[in-house]
Amino acid sequence: MQIIVCVKAVPDTATRIKIASNGQKIDQEGVKYALGPYDARACAKAIELRDAIKGDSKVIAIASGFSDGERDAKKRLKDVLALGADKGVFIADPDPEHRDPLSVAQALAAAIKAQGKWDLVLFGRQAVDDQNLAVGPMTAALLGVACVTDAVALEVTGDKAVVTRAAESRTETIEVKLPACVTAQRDLAEEKYPKLKDILGAGKKPIETFAFAWPAPAWEVKKLSAPPPRQAGKIVGEGPDAVPKLLELLQSEAKALTF
């Protein structure tokens, strides 16, 4: 079984995002990159599945993005190789900051098809930087296969996968024929830590380059703006005496409670 996992380099969760003075880009000063938490779960699951399936199974990680510096997407492929993936595929993108999700999906779909046989493609449900939640489903559409989103459990038996996904106030268990795409929620797998030996070993695993002719962007980001600063809190009183007033305001003013 050939499992593909698509990952993106995103600012780590300790980063405080600042917008550059031209209002077009994120200020890169002091920003560190990492695998996003959803991508990390997708990787952990891909490796878990490969290890559970007897026979010649492989995990291939694919990333598109910058090819050097702190944002170098190959570094994130190395992270996935250190977690146990067998091979990385890198798609150089000269301008990932202005790339729309459809273009990224086209690049990924082309790289996936170039891998020959593939059974399952995993994605994080979203990249935690631009939060489009689009690349997984779009890639699936381009590949002409089903996409199950927000998976919290995934099992493979033969040519089918049983996926449990988180829906509003319920979970859905879906059986899907392979090949298929699945996007990961946090609960899909426990996050793994790379072992030191595997970090050293990752340098010896192959990272191939996939050349992609990027189309003209389908959209253009015009402006980035910071969210409005949080307003100062309001102290309604102290101790149990303040509870009725608090409830009232939560209902009438904040509209946070409905009875």
């Binding site: 990390a40 996050e191 030191l196 030996k197 970090i199």
Partner: protein, 390 residues
């Protein structure tokens, strides 16, 4: 690794001087510490217990004897090894002590002075965290001056007989093997003493207010019979244990950086959110001065560590360099922890916050592996050529 919420202070962008691998090792250790150590260490510190369930996990990650090569050790370079010690001590000095004693003081001497048989038997078990080791040099009456040790071993026929006592031994009670230094007819030699041997006991030392999440013990030897091959064949004289200490002290210098990172981080967050006189206390000049002092000490220590690590990887690091690192960085960490505790006011004396624990831990780190004063004398000798120990 997916980003884990701790971002250590890195004022001079030392990350730019680390290789991808070194950063990946640091980030893996950082995530492990954030997820597995920080959430439980307060309880262990309060109960004076060591989290033994972590030992196999350290082994699986490769933290044990990480800079040794072969025998199931990870074989990372010395900068990566230092970064692991830094992250572990960001969690707790006791937890870092477990790993540095094991790597620097138990696995290193077996690796460097042991027979092939001793290495093949012990190193993989210790590396995987299936066995624990301790290092017995200090004695009740001989701390800074180990040359005066009284523990002795006598060889008759094919059997050594060991008598004496060691004190303040990290991991002692939980160790499966003790590397014990004893006086013999040919000078000081190292022995591997195994748990359960007749006449050998390792009672814990109770009542510590420092390094509580670490086991510290006495080792008692009453006519312990050891086979002839229990001796480390290539360890000759006091030089051998001192070489081990140089390894472990190198890791301590990095560990002190981790403690300072934890304390500074907590102090900055606390002082920005604690309001007195209508403003965050971080807006008062006296508070800022303390934060700046802490930050300056941390940054100096980081620069020292990275240079030491590069020199160690180039085989240029000398014991006096390591004395500089241990002395400077631990003194700073002790000072930083104290300032951090002050800044947290009453909260600083409760274990709900980390600063008080780091402050207490640093008292041990200041004293063990060569007291601050002994390292002062090593450096004094380096400068003047005059040894002022006695």
């Amino acid at each position: 690794m997916a980003g884990h919420a701790f971002r250590g202070e890195d004022f001079f962008s030392l990350d730019d001087l680390l290789s991808d691998e070194e950063r990946a090792v640091r980030d893996a250790a950082r995530a492990f510490v954030s997820d597995k150590i920080i959430p439980i260490v307060e309880k262990h510190h309060r109960n004076a217990t060591f989290p033994t369930e972590l030992i196999p996990q350290f082994g699986e990650m490769g933290f044990l004897g990480a800079n040794l090569h072969g025998y199931d050790c990870a074989g990372v370079n010395n900068v990566a090894y230092g970064l692991i010690m830094q992250e572990l001590e960001r969690g707790d000095s006791g937890v870092r002590s477990y790993c540095s004693v094991k790597g620097g003081l138990v696995m290193y001497p077996i690796f460097s002075f042991g027979s092939e048989k001793q290495k093949d038997h012990w190193l993989p078990l210790l590396a995987k965290g299936q066995k624990t080791g301790c290092f017995g040099l200090s004695e009740p009456d001989h701390g800074s001056d180990p040359a005066g040790m009284e523990t002795k071993a006598e060889l008759k026929g094919d059997t050594w007989t060991l008598n004496g006592a060691k004190r303040w031994i990290t991991n002692g009670t939980i160790a499966d093997v003790a590397v014990v230094w004893a006086r013999t007819k040919e000078g000081i030699r190292g022995f591997l003493v195994e748990k359960g041997m007749k006449g050998y006991s390792a009672p814990p030392i109770e009542g510590k207010f420092s390094l509580r999440a670490s086991v510290t013990s006495e080792l008692v030897f009453e006519d312990v019979k050891l086979p002839k091959d229990a001796v480390l064949p290539k360890a000759d004289g006091l030089k051998a244990p001192l070489m081990c200490l140089t390894q472990a002290r190198y890791g301590i210098a990095w560990g002190a950086v981790g403690s300072m990172m934890a304390v500074l981080d907590e102090a900055v967050h606390y002082t920005k959110s604690r309001v007195q006189f209508g403003k965050p206390i971080a807006s008062f000049q006296l508070v800022q001065e303390k934060l700046v002092e802490m930050h300056t000490m941390l940054t100096h220590a980081q620069l020292t560590c990275l240079r030491m690590g590069r020199m160690k990887d180039e085989n240029k690091l000398k014991p006096h360099h390591v004395s500089f690192g241990k002395r400077n960085n631990v003194r700073s960490a002790r000072e930083v922890a104290k300032l951090g505790r002050e800044l947290l006011g009453a909260n600083g004396i409760c274990d709900e916050y980390q600063v008080g624990r780091h402050m207490c831990n640093m008292e041990s780190v200041y004293t063990y592996e060569g007291t601050h004063e002994i390292h002062t004398l090593v450096l004094g000798e380096h400068l003047t050529g005059i040894a002022a120990y006695k």
